[in-house]
């Protein structure tokens, strides 16, 4: 397979696309937010419960979109569960920078762990927003906003 292609569609990504984790409505949820990319029609809703110590106790998502956006959302939910919202805020910025090629996850300090797998989108400008959509949505949910768009 082509280098860029195999970097983008790694087995883990394909797996999360096929069987997304935490793919359900969270009811009741403390926060929820709708993320929409009008360019491609990707649409996700992220649900969030945060306890009195600002720890994310539960997170889920529903919606529809391409493999990159869905896998990114799925992996995000598994990654941020149990984390403090300040830590998540930091991850949001790191993930964003990595997707845009401003942060090299192999050499620059970061806490992205297995989310490094999305470093491949930096080569494909049209796909950066697919990977970051769910993060923008989570960011907005934490900030108490209702709707975000990546356009």
């Amino acid at each position: 397979m082509d280098d860029k292609l195999s970097q983008l569609y790694q087995q883990v990504v394909l797996d999360h696309n096929k069987t997304p984790r935490n793919f359900r409505v969270l009811d009741p949820a403390d926060f929820e937010s709708l993320g929409y990319n009008p360019l491609c029609g990707d649409k996700y809703k992220v649900f969030l419960n945060i306890d009195e110590h600002n720890i994310v106790t539960d997170i889920s998502f529903i919606g529809d979109g391409c493999a990159i956006s869905k896998a990114s959302a799925s992996m995000m939910t598994t990654f941020v569960k149990g984390k403090h919202i300040d830590e998540i805020e930091k991850l949001f910025h790191q993930f964003h920078d990595m997707a845009q090629g401003k942060l090299d996850p192999e050499n620059d300090p970061n806490d992205l762990g297995r989310l490094k797998i999305f470093y491949g989108v930096r080569n494909l400008p049209a796909r950066v927003k697919c990977a970051t959509l769910c993060w923008h949505t989570l960011h907005a949910a934490i900030k108490g906003k209702e709707k975000v768009t990546t356009e």
């Binding site: 292609l5 569609y9 360019l39 979109g65």
Partner: protein
């Protein structure tokens, strides 16, 4: 003998003036480029078609030899620019067989042209409770302006239904007219489905009810012979960059007697005969609707693109594109899990499709890395997507210069996509 020589000359002249469609590809330098190390297969012509070098040369020629403003200067450059732009108007008039070059208004594109009609004719003629008919398969450019006008005036937007195959329900259309119907806005060729709508017949039906008709021809002019007088529509719009011309230029055709009665929309230079602070006397057609310095190079380029189409000839274009359409349809249908969206018997060389389990955006990326340029998404036809129960499609749209080898490249790349995602 002299007669024979004369007729031979005529034959040779005809040959020289004709561009062989099999060799036309050489006229488009961009088609030789590689993307991601692969030969480019450009199958996104419905979004924007490429320009032949005659169009680009005309563009450069204006800038390097006679750049000046039009309709104003007494100096030579301005006169040359004016005459080149007016020649372009005439060349475009001829292509769509308008009765007069006065009926050709240069706009920034089809969208701009529809907005002109909405702002000028629409605001003067549509009132509260009036009805506008459009179809389910309209591009956003022929929905949003009318939605805006309806919201402003309290008018009603009525929508012609379609079948699952993407064919308009003409019986439903014929029964939608009332004494409040003022306008029909209909797309000639659907950018998403490729469906060619029977605009002649639809205009006849509207005429019988004394209703004005606007035909959106953005996807028509590069594929089929348009005759606005035969269609008998009141308005026809198209864009330069979807017919081998530059971006930023398009035209509105409107019937002269109708446009003479229409109020100007944009005010400014060039659209006036005289101005005082108390009174403005407007210019005649077509200038009444061309306020400000126009996109002169674009207009000249669009004129050359019109002439290029004429030299290749619509018969040759139609034959070649239908052959490509049939070939691509057959090859794509054979792919497991692929479903073609839009199967009207009357179709231009556009194929939208979905593949089980693979989002169009992912298909688009795989194809891109294989050198195949397609469009993925809702194609600015969200209500149509909703009607068809899909979010997005992948769309391959062919032009006169495409080859079967490029369809093969598309099919190979699609097999690669299905391998990755299954």
């Amino acid at each position: 003998m002299a007669d024979l020589q004369e007729s031979l000359k005529a034959v040779n002249k005809d040959k020289a003036e004709r561009t062989d469609i099999e060799r036309c590809r050489e006229d488009f330098p961009i088609l030789a480029r590689k993307v991601h190390g692969k030969p480019l297969a450009f199958l996104d012509n419905a979004a924007s078609s490429q320009m032949p070098d005659v169009v680009m040369h005309a563009y450069t020629d204006y800038h390097s030899r006679y750049h000046a403003n039009v309709h104003r200067g007494v100096h030579l450059l301005s006169q040359e620019a004016t005459s080149a732009m007016e020649q372009a108007r005439e060349d475009i008039r001829e292509l769509i067989n308008a009765g007069s070059a006065k009926e050709i208004i240069f706009t920034s594109g089809a969208t701009d042209a529809i907005n002109l009609v909405m702002q000028s004719w629409g605001r003067a003629n549509i009132g509260e409770g009036d009805e506008i008919i459009i179809s389910t398969m309209e591009h956003h450019s022929n929905i949003v302006p009318w939605r805006m006008l309806c919201d402003e005036k309290g008018a009603v937007l009525k929508v012609i239904p379609i079948s699952d195959e993407g064919v308009l329900d003409l019986d439903a259309y014929a029964s939608m007219f009332s004494n409040r119907t003022k306008l029909v806005g209909i797309v000639y060729v659907s950018n998403t489905l490729g469906t060619i709508n029977p605009v002649d017949e639809m205009t006849r039906i509207a005429r019988a009810h004394d209703v004005a008709v606007l035909v959106d021809g953005a996807q028509a002019v590069s594929h089929l012979k348009v005759d606005v007088q035969q269609i008998d529509c009141d308005f026809f719009v198209t864009s330069g960059h979807k017919m081998y011309g530059p971006t930023g230029i398009g035209i509105l055709y409107g019937k002269q007697e109708l446009m003479e009665k229409m109020p100007p929309w944009r005010g400014g230079g060039d659209m006036i005969l005289s101005v005082s602070f108390d009174e403005v006397i407007y210019n005649d057609l077509p200038y009444k609707f061309e306020a400000g310095t126009p996109h002169i190079a674009g207009a000249i380029g669009m004129g050359k693109a019109a002439n290029y189409i004429k030299t290749v000839g619509y018969d040759a274009i139609h034959h070649k594109e239908q052959e490509l359409l049939m070939y691509a349809t057959e090859k794509l249908q054979a792919i497991d899990g692929l479903r073609i969206i839009g199967t009207s018997p009357e179709k231009s060389s556009v194929i939208s499709f979905v593949v089980d389990g693979i989002h169009p955006h992912d298909i688009g990326t795989v194809l891109d890395l294989e050198g195949v340029a397609v469009r993925t998404g809702h194609h600015c036809t969200q209500p149509l997507m909703e009607r068809l129960g899909i979010v997005a499609t992948t769309r391959a749209s062919m032009a006169m210069y495409n080859r079967k080898e490029e369809i093969d490249q598309l099919v190979t790349a699609l097999h690669k996509a299905t391998e990755i995602f299954r």
